[in-house]
């Protein structure tokens, strides 16, 4: 099953060409395809590709990788490169040009993955018919030399007639859960017995599962959506978007800590609406996401939101919501939130407070700094520290900082590829267990007349399944005992397995050929 016959593909026609120049010119399409096919079904190809993938993974582990999304924007990427420059020095541009700072999205990695997938598919297609034949149309009789040279073999003399002897062989094999196929011939009664004939299909399952997993990765990368910064202030509602018709209301948030100050639990009370109708209520915490219709909500982070109200000069409310202060200033001292006022294009309001654990003498407790920007103007329209609950009029609009509220930061993701990954993973484990723990065990038996009864020959291939060896001998012993009802004490009959050591040694040639 695993032996690969490596014959050199006939690349160019051998006959007819008179000089060297002539050969190699006429590469026919089929010859090329044939060559390609042989390349992909070669396990050596697969092996080299696996190792190449391993090498790329090693590079990806050893070198710092650009965080997701950073490589798309040139300016961000340049600043990221600058940040790793002290570590890699003059190699930085070289490594960057080779794509080694984003190994897993590099063309090399994709190319090897595609080649490996092709190889895996080709191997499976190539192998499946042979496995099918081995399982369902096995060769039931073997030549005489097989019985004298097989890695596992034994010969037993029993005092019964061949018919009774083969019935006995069948019965014992069946009691050991072997399937038996009889095939009478001139050379005697041929018996084929096997167990776990579906085991080798595990290789096909395992290899195809690998393709299913890769398909899942591909779907994850190309479909679905992921919003890693989905913030909702407690009491507010936020739209999920992406055509889901979902919106989420945060009803509570709590963070608890151990005595030593390390975090113990973060939890958000959420109500999920589909097209305005509540469909699910759940407390979401780390490790306990909320899932609905393929969309998942994960607890990710949290912070403080400022409840703001904006009115125009006529007293009409233009904006009233809590602004999550999700950004941190470059010096890390301030938490910043931002919102736009509906109907006022280009107007952007920043809400600024001292970051958690930081103190800004200018922004006291119960205060909030507002910075109002108008698009197209380099300087802010106004920057002002406001008191909680009092309205301040800036450029014709009245701003009120009402109170702070906690906000919860969620990851919202819809990943159709994940299910493929899980199905592929399950298949992979099933496949591996079939291959490794249910090896196809085959025994060929020949029963023929001998002086004083019948001679029973046993032979089996033992490739990579040494655990079968004791079982094989146990079977032979059982058959021998069952076939000689009268003499139970006299176990080692003449002509029985020559001696244990002989059989042991018989096993050695097979292992030396493996080198």
């Amino acid at each position: 099953m695993s032996q690969i016959v490596r014959t050199r593909p006939a690349g160019s026609p051998t006959g007819g060409s008179l000089d060297g120049l002539d050969s190699g010119v006429s590469v026919s399409g089929t010859a090329l395809l044939n060559r390609l096919w042989r390349f992909f079904i070669s396990m050596r190809t697969g092996l080299v590709l696996i190792l190449a993938l391993g090498l790329m993974s090693l590079v990806g582990t050893l070198l710092e990788q650009t965080p997701a999304g950073m490589s798309t924007d040139p300016a961000t990427y340049a600043s990221w490169l600058a940040s790793v420059h002290p570590k890699y020095g003059g190699w930085t541009p070289v490594l960057s040009a080779l794509g080694l700072f984003a190994v897993f999205t590099s063309i090399w990695f994709k190319a090897i993955t595609v080649l490996l997938t092709t190889s895996v598919l080709a191997c499976s297609v190539n192998r499946a018919p042979r496995l099918w034949k081995l399982a369902f149309h096995p060769r039931t009789r073997m030549g005489e030399t097989f019985f004298t040279h097989a890695p596992l073999r034994a010969a037993v003399l029993v005092p019964t007639e061949p018919d009774a002897a083969s019935d006995n062989v069948r019965a014992v094999l069946r009691s050991h859960r072997f399937r038996t196929v009889t095939d009478p011939g001139e050379e005697g009664m041929n018996l084929y017995a096997d167990r776990f004939r579906w085991g080798p299909f595990g290789t096909v399952i395992a290899h195809l599962s690998f393709v299913v997993i890769l398909l899942g990765f591909f779907l994850s990368a190309t479909t679905g959506f992921k919003n890693p910064q989905f913030t909702i202030a407690v009491g507010s509602t936020a739209q999920v978007g992406h055509g889901t018709g979902l919106s989420v209301q945060a009803t509570s948030f709590s963070d608890t800590y151990y005595l030593d100050g390390s975090p113990k639990d973060y939890s958000s009370g959420l109500v999920l609406y589909k097209n305005g109708v509540p469909v699910q209520t759940q407390t979401v915490r780390v490790n306990h996401p909320m899932r609905f219709d393929g969309v998942s909500f994960y607890q990710s982070y949290f912070g403080v939101a400022a409840a703001m109200q904006v009115k125009d000069s006529a007293g009409k409310t233009l904006y009233s919501d809590a602004v999550p202060m999700t950004f941190t200033s470059n010096d890390g001292k301030h938490a910043i939130g931002q919102f736009a006022v509906p109907g006022k294009t280009g107007l952007s309001v920043y809400v600024i407070n001292a970051a958690s654990g930081q103190v800004d003498p200018n922004i006291k407790a119960g205060q909030m700094e507002l910075e109002i920007d108008q698009a197209g103007q380099s300087a802010p329209v106004a920057t002002e520290v406001v008191n909680q609950g009092t309205s301040t009029t800036i450029a014709g609009l009245s701003y009120t900082f009402q109170r702070t509220r906690p906000f919860t930061g969620l990851i919202v993701a819809h990943d159709p590829g994940a299910n493929f990954v899980w199905v592929g993973s399950a298949l992979l484990v099933i496949g591996l267990f079939l291959v490794f723990f249910f090896p196809h065990r085959r025994i060929w038996v020949r029963v023929r007349k001998a002086s004083g009864g019948s001679e029973i020959l046993f032979a089996s291939t033992m490739r990579r399944d040494t655990a079968f060896e004791p079982q094989f001998h146990q079977l032979v012993t059982d058959i021998q005992l069952a076939g000689t009802p009268s003499s139970t004490t006299d176990i080692p009959l003449a002509g029985t397995p020559p001696s244990t050591t002989d059989i042991q040694l018989a096993g050695t040639p097979s292992s030396t050929t493996q080198k």
Partner: protein, 304 residues
Amino acid sequence: MLKLAQYSLLASVMVVCLALVCYILVLALGRSVRREPVKEHALVGAGVGSSGGAARGSTSPAVVAPAPRSLAAYGTYFTWLALVFLTASLVFRAIYTGHGPFANQYEFAVAFGWGMMAAYVYFEHQYHVRTIGLLILPITAALLIYAMTVGDTAIPLVPALQNNLLLSIHVALAIIAYGAFSVAGACGVLYLIQPEGGKQGLPHPAKLDEISYRAIIIGFPLLTMVVILGAVWADVAWGTYWSWDPKETASLLTWLVYGAYLHARVVRGWRGRRAAWLLMLGFACVLFTFFGNLFFGGLHSYAK
């Protein structure tokens, strides 16, 4: 409980060292008494190689006859005792902390050491090849001593780690797989230091090849499950089943190397020595993945 865990660990380190001393003495004395047929069984490593096919370990019921109470046998008893102490240490620790050994480097190291001892005891029992102990016991001892130096303060679990069952299974499978890989790696080393066809006093290469294959077919499916459970956990905790986190990538690398080994074993020109190199490379990857916590940060950087 914490004290009990510490004492058990200390005891196991000492017993591992005793076992190692026994094996080294056997090796040293064995060379001088090899020709005495009575002692043949005592040098188990030599016994397998020199008596060739007859001593094919568990596969032949004739050889199960144990050695007399020799130094080597004491070595074996010490490894059992060490395993008992290590198990006790892990159990006491788990009772004390209330969770499996996955919260910090100390717990990983003791669990890893347990995995190696368990795998060694199992394979020695199955195949009677004590020689691999000469390689595995020092590594186990070093790992356990490392555990003692790294500090065993129990820290409370951060929210992402509060998935006791999933993580316990994840780590349990990992340590068994790692144990099996260490046995395979030791077999790889013993394979490579011998000339083609074997060397007197060392297990026969074909035997080593068989043991390492047995170890890998246990370890590889387990490692596969470890990676998959890691992905399940990542999906539950972070919303992504795979994020190319360094530890994830290093496990993938390990998985690929052992996958390569499984294929190499049936490719002409790769079986034998090259496959043995892959076993060593694989174990290097295991160690790299294990100690990776210390330098590559990322999502697995809980353990400081």
